[in-house]
């Protein structure tokens, strides 16, 4: 069948099962927007290209399917660089299609031209400039294959205008769909090496103080169930990193919560005192390890990752296993079962009692606000979490900063894929668009964006998109009128010299702004108002809702491992500071 490149591009996306594109048209991509009218694929028109990228990420986080964004050339391509980098750091499967000036104009500094593949080379798993219409189906097929297999990540396809423009003879092509992908340099290893898995089992069976150090790779590999089984088989405690919240239920007796700079005291300390860390799809990020040469000094390391470059990148493993987390966990569980299952595990009662001692002495805590004072952000989160009107499988999406840490600490994640955030890149402004993407992917689920006032101002315009497209996300702004995390560092490490962190609680007026964008806007200033506002927000399902919660700017996130300190030097909440460690 004879087609033009633009039709072939949309048809290729249909062949890949794409149900939604987040995008914004412009000059170079114009011809591709024409066949969208005739396609069953839904297109969501964003207000800024960064929004399209984060929506595609949110969609991918919530569904596990690749998110797709399509934008034009030049400034649109540069606007989507941040989401690409975000997706690259957090291993989010995403395919981004950018328009490009016509092949003959490339390199002439044409209008809205930029070197998109050059600019995005180091923030994509792969990218490709397509120069012939006939290559489009093959390149799209490869892009989805690369984005979704191995360690997932973003792939960018740059499409010059002439090969998709029906007015141009260069766009003519005979339609085909490649049945297979031929990439000789790309063959991800999925099954673990059996000898290494046996060696890992040996270490586990010898260990008196083991911890499962679970990272985002477990979620990417859809391995939450397998992990649950492995934990049942070993009764070993679990920490879930910021990228893995929900991979193991926080309500489970063996769950220790989040490790790292703002992790729970018990998660941090158990890793620090462990004799064995079983790293499953985690990458020894600096925010987890603290000062590296003081991190988990007595621990042997088993490191499982699908990306061979992660093994030994930061900490040399005693046993390194390259493979898909789900398959390796299942293979490891099978070996442990053969070796006698739970009965074969050594006596770890002393370790367990040390852990429960830490849990009793150092739970997450904060001082409730006095009457008449501003709301405590933790209180708002507890109310949101515990409200009878908030379903237990609510998807929570955050921006970056204090509110993100409090949400991760206080939410209590019991289901995988209910926590969406920007971990590696730490992209402020992530939450509103990512929440929209998550809601598009999971329309039957309640989606709450918990945002800071600083973050909200970066991407709030996408609520116009949400209102126009009837995507009823809910946004809780923890409005402390500051760039709160920076304020916290200035308070603690810069002698309370507050430099350029004040934002004002009233400027903008968040309630009016929300209403101007077609959302329901509310403002909440006192604790008594909180439950009713949440209930009202949860009852609205025909448009987005924004609640401006006025929170206490003095509140800081604890525990905290100061930058440059080892995890043994974790600073706990004031009320716990005299307690024996």
């Amino acid at each position: 069948m004879l087609m033009n490149g633009g039709q072939a591009l949309i048809k290729s996306l249909e062949m890949e099962g794409v149900e939604v594109i987040f995008g914004l048209p412009g000059g170079a991509i114009l011809p591709v927007y024409d066949p969208i009218i005739d396609s069953p694929i839904r297109h969501i028109l964003v207000r800024h290209e960064q929004g399209a990228g984060h929506m595609a990420e949110g969609y991918a986080h919530a569904t596990g399917r690749p998110g797709v964004a399509m934008v034009t050339s030049g400034p649109a391509a540069t606007n989507i660089v941040t989401p690409l980098c975000d997706a690259y750091m957090d291993s989010v499967p995403m395919v981004v299609i950018t328009g490009q000036v016509a092949t003959a104009a490339i390199g002439t500094d044409a209008f809205q031209e930029c070197d998109t593949v050059g600019i995005t080379r180091s923030v994509t798993k792969h990218n490709e400039l397509v120069t012939e219409a006939a290559d489009i189906p093959r390149v799209i097929r490869e892009a989805f294959h690369i984005a979704t297999t191995g360690r997932p990540g973003p792939v960018l396809v740059d499409i010059p205008k002439d090969i998709v423009d029906p007015m141009n003879p260069r766009s003519a092509m005979e339609w085909y769909w490649p049945e297979t992908v031929d990439l000789p340099g790309y063959q991800p290893v999925t099954h673990g090496d059996p000898a290494a898995i046996r060696a890992a089992a040996d270490l586990i069976l010898e260990s008196r103080r083991p911890v499962f150090y679970v990272g985002g790779g477990v979620l990417k590999a859809r391995a939450a169930e397998a992990l649950h089984e492995l934990v049942g088989l070993t009764r070993i405690h679990v920490v879930t990193t910021l990228m893995a919240r929900g991979a193991f239920p926080d309500s489970h007796p063996l769950a220790l919560g989040m490790p790292g700079m703002h992790g729970t005291y018990t998660a941090i300390t158990s890793m620090q005192e462990a004799d064995l860390l079983v790293a499953l799809g985690s990458r020894f990020d600096d925010r987890v390890t603290g000062k590296l040469d003081g991190f988990a000094p007595d621990a042997k390391i088993i490191h499982v990752d699908i990306d061979p470059a992660e093994l030994g990148k930061v900490r040399r493993p005693d046993v390194g296993i390259v493979g898909d987390c789900r398959l390796v966990i299942e293979e490891l569980a099978a070996v442990l079962r053969e070796r006698g299952g739970l009965e074969a595990q050594p006596d770890r009662s002393e370790w367990k009692s040390r852990i429960s001692g830490w849990q009793e002495r150092f739970p997450l805590t904060y001082e409730p606000s006095e009457p008449g004072e501003a709301l405590k952000p933790q209180y708002v989160l507890e109310q949101l979490r515990d409200s009878a009107s908030t379903p237990s499988d609510t998807i929570v999406v955050s921006g970056v900063g204090q509110h993100q840490m409090w949400t991760s600490q206080y939410w209590g994640f019991d289901h995988p894929y209910t926590w969406v955030n920007s971990g590696g890149l730490g992209t402020m402004g992530f939450s509103v668009p990512a929440a929209i993407g998550a809601k598009v992917g999971k329309p039957d689920r309640t989606v709450w964006a918990v945002d800071g006032d600083g973050c909200f101002q970066m991407t709030a315009q996408e609520l116009v998109t949400a209102a126009a497209e009837r995507i009823p996300v809910k946004v809780a702004i923890l409005n402390n009128a500051y760039l709160g995390m920076v304020r916290q560092w200035q308070e603690m490490f810069y002698e309370e010299r507050y430099s350029e962190v004040y934002l004002s609680p009233d400027l903008p007026d968040y309630k009016m702004w929300a209403e101007a964008m077609g959302c329901v806007g509310m403002r909440v200033e006192s604790p008594e108002e909180v439950p009713a506002a949440i209930e009202k927000a949860n009852s609205i399902n025909d448009r987005p809702v924004v609640i401006d919660f006025r929170t206490d700017a003095r509140e800081k996130v604890f525990p905290m491992v100061p930058a440059g300190a080892t995890n043994s030097q974790v600073v706990v909440a004031e009320s716990q500071q005299g307690l024996p460690r």
Binding site: G118, G185, P308, A309
Partner: protein, 165 residues
């Protein structure tokens, strides 16, 4: 002078636009300088071989090799141990050769089995193909006569053949 830390990597890549930039970018973002680089298609024209000489310690090199292998267009990669590989490099040099000096330069050319490519009144252009060490020696011995221009290709290398039965 400190112990040389040169490593030679031979990287088989798909012969496509932009692949060299991807490979070079991995070194650049870490601040490692590529000492020499040679790229050409192999007998299979869909593939190119890149030979990279880089001055870097072993631990970061191991990470770079793994990162290189993550590039979709990289088909295979190996580090060549100089003791177990054959290495060659080509040098072109224009060297001053006036009067009685000319005879001494020509003598060097003869000793090294180099070739004379071009002859002028005051200088000659010579070429030498050989092991990197031999090429280094030749360059060093030519230098006192006055090198006007010099161009080296960077080394190319292949593993030595296994002779065990």
């Amino acid at each position: 002078m400190s112990e040389p830390r040169h490593h030679t990597l031979t990287v088989l890549v798909q012969n496509k636009a932009g692949v060299l930039a991807r490979v070079a970018g991995l070194f650049a973002r870490r601040g490692y300088n590529i000492e020499s680089l040679a790229v050409a298609p192999t007998d299979d024209e869909s593939l190119s071989r890149i030979t990279i000489v880089v001055d870097v310690e072993s631990a970061p090199l191991d990470q770079i090799v793994k990162q290189l292998f993550k590039l979709i267009n990289v088909v295979s990669i190996s580090e060549l141990d100089p003791r177990r590989s054959v290495e060659r490099e080509l040098l072109l040099a224009t060297v001053k050769a006036e009067g009685e000096v000319r005879a001494r330069v020509l003598e060097l050319v003869q000793i090294f089995e180099a070739k004379i490519l071009n002859v002028g009144h005051t200088a000659i252009t010579v070429s030498l193909e050989g092991s990197p060490v031999k090429v280094d020696d030749f360059e060093e011995l030519l230098r006192p006569y006055g090198i006007v221009e010099l161009q080296r290709t960077g080394r190319v290398a292949l593993p030595k053949l296994d002779r065990t039965l």
